[in-house]
Each structure stands twice: as C-alpha cells, then as structure tokens.
C-alpha cells in the first residue's frame, strides 16, 4: 500500500511524547463538512474507509472484525475491504449496498471532517440532497475506467443545486489504468465541458486510488509523478468554509426562543446565520420593522464583545420591542425581505406525490407557516437536465414551482443564504417531511397586493343578522345523502329566520369551478375555492351549508383553518359504500364500475373519512328528516 504514514495524519509520536502540545494543537482545529458521491462500483466506500483507516479512526478490534468480514463477505478477495467499515444497517450489509445517508468522522491535525456518505443507486436524489444540504464540498467519484457517466452529471447537478461551492472530481481506480495521465486528462476535459453548462465555474480534479492510497494523504504519489496538484486530504484541509465566508455578510439571526427567566431579563436566542454582531449595533426586527440596538451578548462565561456567523447566542436589546420565535433580528440598514409568494426549486422526498393546491407546513429557519404549491412549472430530468412538463412531482423528482404562504415570511434567495432560503415541506396529517426547497425569488404580486382593512367587520355583519356565522361542511360518498339532508337543513334554518346559503357540489361545478375536472389536483382546487367562498360568506354573517364529497382530510383541514375556531362544523354523512352503491341515484357507480368514469371516490379514488367530525350521521339508521333535525339542533342548540 502506498504511503499511509503521511505526517499529516500520523500524530502518534506527539501523542506519546507531549500530549499537552498535541491537545493544544487540536483545540484549534476548524471543521469541514463534505459529501462523497458515487456508486459502490466507483470505490466510494473504499475511499472513505481508507480516510478513516489512515487517520487512525479504526481500532484494533474493529480491524479484526474487518479482516474477518473481508474474508467472509468482502469483494476484494483476501485483501482488506475498506468498504465494509462504512456499511451500517444489518439489512443493507446483507444486500451489499448502503441505502441512506451515513455520517463519518475523521480528523487531521488541521481539521475535523464530517463526511456525508450517500448512495449512488436510483434512490439517490433524496439522500444526496440531504447529505449535500450541510456540506461545503462535494467529492464526486469517477471510475477511471469508465469516465464521466450519467450519474456523474446527476451528482454534480444536485451538488450545485444545493449550493456546494467546492467540487472535487476524484478520478478513482487509477491503479487499474496503469496511472495513465492521458486517461486522467481526457476525463477532466470531458467533465469541464459539462460542468460549465450547469454553472460550475471551477473544480479540482485529483487522480486517486482509494484502494492503494495514491494521492489520498500526500501527493504526488510515486505512481503519478505527472500530477502537480494537492492530495485529497491537503485539498480538504485548505478549502474555505462557508461559515467563515458568511461573516462578511449583513447580520442576521433568526430568533429560535425568547428567554425570560424573570421580568428583568429578556434574551433572544438564535444561531447567527450571517455577519457579525457587537453591543451597540443598530438592528431591525423583521418583519415588524421595529429598530433597536444590541445591548449585550450574554453567555454563562460573561458578556461577549462580538459574535459571528455560526455561533448560537443570546442577545438582549436596548428597547422593549416585540420580537418572538420566527422573527429575524438583522442589521438595521440591510434587513432581509418578506413575502408570501415565491418561485422555488423543490426536491420531492416522499412516496406520496405533490398535491398541487394542498396546504403543507413550510419550515424556513425558525418560521413555520402554511403553504400551498401550484402545479409545477416544469420538472428537471436530472440525467439529461431537460425540462419536462409535469402535473405533480413524485419521489426523487426535482421541479420548479410557485408557492404561496398564508402569511409573509422573512427570506433571502437560497443562492445568497442557505439558512434563509432553504425550507422543508411537512405533510399536515402524517407529519412526514415530504420535500426540501430552495427559494429563488419573491413573485412581485405579493409585494403589490395589500390586505384592505374593511370598515364594516364580520362581527358587524353577524350582529345585524342576529346570528353566529358557521360553515356546516357535509362530507361523504357520492349518493350518501349529503345534498338531500343539506337541503332540509337549509330549509329548516330558513324557517327559523336564519340567513343561510347552500353551496352544492354539482351546482358549483356548473359555474365557479367549471374549468376543473376530477383528477386529484383538480379536486383539491375545487375544495379550496369552495372553502374560500364559504369563508367570504361566513364573513358576511351567513350560515353556510356545503355538500361536497370532499374526500381528502387535508383539504377539509385546510378549510377548517381558514375559519375562526368553532365556526367549521364537519358533518360526516356516513353511508357504507355498499349502501350508496346500491342506491346509485345518479347511476354513477354503475358507470364507474364499467370504467366509464375515472377517479370515482370509493371505486378507484380513496375516501378519507373524518376522524372526529363534530357531527356524524348514520344514514342506515336515520331518516333524512331526523338527520336534519339532529344537525339543526346541534347548530342552534349551541347558541
């Protein structure tokens, strides 16, 4: 094996002879996070295993186990299979592949390294985006025998998309091509042409053998006298760090938590995402725009004179200004913007595809808001980088979308700030993290459309009608009896001098929603619009009765959240599918069974029953008249 005893990592002598000096040296290391991209075939795990091995991160007992494993299940014959060091979960070990992101640690005398190790097979996008999100540098492995492949392009694109500025093209397995410089240079030239097309301005190419160790710790290896660049380790030790670059930016600290142990102390806690802060600095709280100055930077070891990007701090302000979790404390003369409509690139990470129009939680820095995503402008084929038309985004798809939040959020373009431009989307029901996104810019519309305050308020409207507004939201299968019962309810309330309005599914589709079909996305938009109309009518003081199948929990939840607490009354008209199908008043089930109707709820499209509706009507045990009476009593009885 080539020089694994490079002075860069082997500190044994200093440890043994002068531990104090060694520790002193190691107290002042910096830290670099990087990602390795490539498939098992590129020798990626072998390279990482070698980095751990060479930097003495492997103990004798692990080495013994490794030697035994190498003989039993290794792929390198009788030689040590370094790849086995970095494979973790039992199932994956048996399959011989890694299927998730694993984090590895090693250190040299200059730096501590955190390596995100992600797989190169088809499920790569989600995992690689995750690993790349925290990395400053990407090592893109290429097998010298194979050159630049489709996956090389894919990895480079995702690394660049996630904002990684340092790209290393590691041309591995040089030992298998006799260390031929012509092969190396050919690969570099090909990669250069490609890299320029996706906006990678520069990269560092290193000829390597992870297996033999050439140019890993020191360079040039005796086998590559023609190579004049740094070894991989040297390059990793000297790449500049994003947290240091961020110090030059304007001050920003998203507020995570307000510390109020008593009435005299009010500290704002957060991680500084850019810039530097000192007592006396003028700051602005965004989005309120209130200004103040930094009074102190508080720590248990005494107040600080200065804090910088990358530090978690607690600051106090000179004035009593409103400031809470989700706000950003920023340089007074250079604050970030707020908006509620954006264009963004989104990486979809869940088995359940994007539902345009559905409300998701969006988390950006310490802000969590409700957001809906419109139909994608286009999807990006990560292999060819072509733009494709798309109605949705499936697992591992990357697309450009427009999205809208329910209130303004403070942001910066991702290209300017990972911390204020990167976000995740969370499913409101399952709570899964379904997507990661990178904001491009605010759509100007939001900045020009302001909410108009009205002189006659919703309370005034309700008071004049002498009633409390409500939305009686009927949901259930087609043919369950929603329209029938809703009509009786509206009639009864009307007779009791209540001001009502019935929004019926079929009727709305003749007008307001006649442009919508019955795909999942259209059905979501259908309900969103009806929800907005119902809200406007409730604002006007009416008791709104709606009769829509509204099959998805998430959309009903969305409408619930549009209204003040207590005004949304979910009425589940609960009729078993077999009963509704037997009734088949409109003959629709028959058509659906014959395949003439697509996306029919209960047949080839799901119905998600309410988990705890305010009212549940079992139509197999109640007449429509009794059901309506029950509902009316619930509505009126509460007043």
């Amino acid at each position: 094996m080539a020089d694994s005893s490079s002075p860069t990592y082997q500190a044994d002598r200093l440890i043994a002879e002068d531990i104090e000096a060694y520790l002193e040296q190691h107290q002042n290391k910096s830290m670099l996070r990087f990602i390795t991209c490539g498939s098992v075939d590129d020798g990626k795990s072998t390279l990482i295993g070698r980095l751990l091995y060479d930097s003495k991160m492997i103990f004798e007992d692990q080495l013994d186990a490794l030697e035994a494993d190498s003989k039993r299940i290794g792929t390198q014959g009788q030689e040590i299979d370094f790849a086995l060091l970095v494979d973790g979960l039992a199932a994956e070990r048996e399959q011989g592949i890694t299927i998730d992101v694993a984090y590895r640690f090693f250190a040299t005398e200059k730096r501590k390294f955190i390596v995100a190790d992600t797989p190169g097979h088809e499920q790569y996008t989600r995992n690689m985006a995750t690993g790349a999100s925290t990395a400053d540098l990407a090592v893109i492995l290429v097998d010298a025998r194979k050159g630049v492949l489709v996956q090389t392009r894919r990895h480079s694109y995702i690394a660049h998309l996630l904002g990684i500025r340092h790209i290393v093209l590691a041309v591995n397995k040089m030992d298998l091509v006799n260390y031929d410089p012509a092969i190396f240079e050919g690969i570099v030239a090909e990669y250069q042409t490609f890299a320029a097309t996706i906006g990678i301005e520069n990269f560092t190419a290193i000829p390597l053998s992870g297996f033999k160790g050439d140019n890993v710790a020191s360079a040039p290896s005796a086998n590559t006298p023609w190579y004049s660049g740094p070894s991989l380790i040297e390059h990793l030790e000297n790449a500049d760090l994003s947290n240091e670059r961020a110090q030059a930016g304007a001050f920003r600290m998203p507020v995570q938590w307000v510390n109020r142990p008593d009435l005299d102390f009010r500290g704002f806690c957060g991680l500084i995402t850019s810039g530097t802060v000192r007592p006396g600095d003028a700051v602005r709280v965004v989005p309120s725009g209130k200004t103040s100055t930094i009074k102190s930077i508080v720590t248990s070891g005494g107040d600080l004179d200065e804090a910088v990007a990358g530090q978690s701090v607690t600051v106090t302000l000179a004035d009593e200004v409103d400031c809470s979790r989700g706000d950003v404390i920023a340089a007074a003369d250079d604050p970030p913007q707020s908006s509620d409509q954006f264009e963004a690139t989104v990486v979809w990470m869940n088995d359940e595809a994007l539902k345009p129009g559905r409300g998701y939680w969006l988390k950006l820095a310490s802000q969590t808001v409700s957001a809906s995503v419109r139909e994608p402008k286009y999807e990006i084929n990560v292999n060819t980088l072509d733009h494709l038309a798309a109605k949705t985004l499936e697992l591992n798809a990357i697309g450009v979308v427009e999205l809208q939040t329910d209130r303004p959020i403070t942001f910066e373009a991702y290209a300017e700030s990972r911390a204020l431009g990167g976000f995740i989307l969370i499913d409101k029901i399952t709570h899964a993290t379904v997507a990661a996104g990178m904001l491009h810019f605010s759509l100007r519309r939001a900045q020009n459309v302001h909410w108009q305050a009205l002189d006659v308020t919703r309370e005034d409207h309700a008071a004049l009608k002498n009633q409390r507004p409500a939305v009686l939201w009927f949901t259930g299968l087609s043919g369950a009896g929603k329209s029938t019962i809703a009509n009786i309810v509206a009639r009864k309330l009307h007779r009791m001098n209540r001001h009502t309005f019935l929004l019926d599914g079929d009727n709305v589709r003749h007008g307001l929603n006649k442009d919508l079909g019955f795909t999942e996305a259209d059905r979501i938009e259908n309900i969103r619009r009806v929800g907005e109309v119902a809200r406007l009518m409730a604002d006007a003081g009416l008791i709104v009765v709606t009769a829509f199948i509204s099959p998805f929990r998430a959309e009903r939840q969305l409408v619930r959240q549009m209204l003040p607490p207590g005004e949304f009354i979910e009425v589940h008209i609960d009729t078993p599918l077999s009963v509704a199908e037997a009734r088949d008043v409109k003959g629709l089930y028959k058509k659906a069974r014959q395949g003439q109707l697509k996306n029919f709820t209960g047949i080839d499209s799901p119905y998600e029953a309410p988990e705890s509706p305010e009212i549940r009507i079992d139509t197999t045990s109640m007449t429509p008249e009794d059901a309506a009476e029950h509902i009316v009593r619930h509505v009126i009885g509460g007043w």
Partner: protein, 303 residues
Amino acid sequence: MHRLTHLERLEAESIHIMREVVAEARKPVMLYSVGKDSAVMLHLAKKAFYPAPPPFPLLHVDTTWKFRDMYDLREKAASDAGMDLLVWHNSEAQSRGINPFDHGSVHTDMWKTEGLKQALDHYGFDAAFGGARRDEEKSRAKERIFSFRSNAHGWDPKNQRPELWNLYNAKMAKGESIRVFPLSNWTELDIWQYIMAESIEIVPLYFAARRPTYIHDGGLFMADDLDRLEKVMGRRPEITERSIRFRTLGCFPLTGAVESEAATLAEVVQEMLLATTSERQGRVIDQDDGGAGMEKKKQEGYF
C-alpha cells in the same frame, strides 16, 4: 475574521438543536446517565438557556446497579444546574429481582429498555434528549438527530424523516415521541477535549486509581459493593487491588475496567488516542447477536 474551532461549531449546533426542541416540543426531558457524554450534554443545556436553568427536568432510568460515585455526582449535577431530577426504577424488574448476574441481557432489557418506556409514558414526555453519538457504533452513523418513535416506542429505520440543513421537523401525532441526539456529530475525542476546555465535572471513575477488582468471565470488574455482589453471585469474589479506570460507565457488574495509570484528563486522552480497542468494547451489550446487537436493541426501544 473570527475563526471558529470545531468545538465552537459543535457547541453551536448542539445548542441550536436543544432550543428547537424546547420551542417545538410539548414536554421535553433530558435523559441523564451520569456518564461523560451526559455531562457534556448537560453542560451544553446550561449554556443554551443561561441565565435561566434548562426548562426541562433530568431523567435517570436507574437499574440500582450503578457505581456509587455515579449516584453521588447525579445528585450534585442536578442541583448545580437548578434542574429537577427524576429517577425511574422499573418496579417489575425490582420485584422480580432482575440482576446482571442471573439474567444477562434481560437485565438491560427490563431495567433500561422497559424502564425508559415506562418513564416516558408515565410522565408523558414527547421529546427526550439522549447523549448518543454517531461515531459510537456502525448502525448509529445513520441515526437522525431527531429520531421518531411510534406509540409503542418502536424505531423503524425505513420511516425516519430526512434532515436537511438545520431544519428539524418536530411535528408529532398524539402518543408519538422523539429521541433527540444533540451530540450526534461529536466524536469521543471531541467530548474529551470539550471536557478539558470547559472544565466539566465527570465521575472520578474515568481517572485511574487503585480500586478493589475481581475477574469474572474473563473480564476485569470493580467490586463497588462487595456485600451485594456476594449476595447475588452466591460467593465472595476474590478481590485484588489494581490501578484501573473506566472508558465507559454503566452497571458496575457489566462494565469492564481497564488497567491504567492515567490519572489526569490529558493522560486519559493520551491513552484513548493510543488505544487499540474501541470504546464500547467494555460493554457487554454490543456483543449480543454479532455486530447487529445495538441495532436490534434500538428497534426494540433501547436508546
């Protein structure tokens, strides 16, 4: 430019994680095992919420078989931090007399795995900080910082949430809970360096001293409570005084000692750096079921 060291960056990350949990979880708790990693985690919590005490209690899931030095430091550390200390004993394990000699891995399962679930359910905690690190063991390299557990505290490796940037999704349904590992990105060396840099108090057993020892099943152990040992083992083990220390701390009959002269922090770190065996080797737990032992335990709800 102010260059941040790796320890400063690790500290900032851990503090950020703790504050996110406190801001988003309903009822957090910090699991405190009295070991060196717990000591670092507690120290970071104090820093994160200074000048207030950390706004959550400490929970020690006890087996009654810890070293006496550990019990002493446990009380002191909690009171120094101004935090409530909750101690949980699995009453079933207690009444059935489950002990490390007669019951082997059942001891760990009943006292720790079951005990932890019981304690979390009893108090209704929805987020529990733990001091596990990714460098400890292979299967942990892939563990998330926020690790989701089902109603029954099960851990499903296929059903974990992707973690991007430093955005943690702490949304939970009723009955679900999260284990949060603020020290995920620390290595053993980082822990020691931080203990030195911040003068953090740790259990004296980490430093070498002459202590009463006995050999059992080929391992070197300390006779922390000889009378109790005798009662459970049915004989009085042969005691020899040796200069020993511990690289990791657990139940005294299960935690192997190493012969050592390292009596200062610097010497301990020196010994660790020159060591040829990995940290957890002293613990019996990992060696069950071959290399997959820890992973299986995790799926069953062990931390």
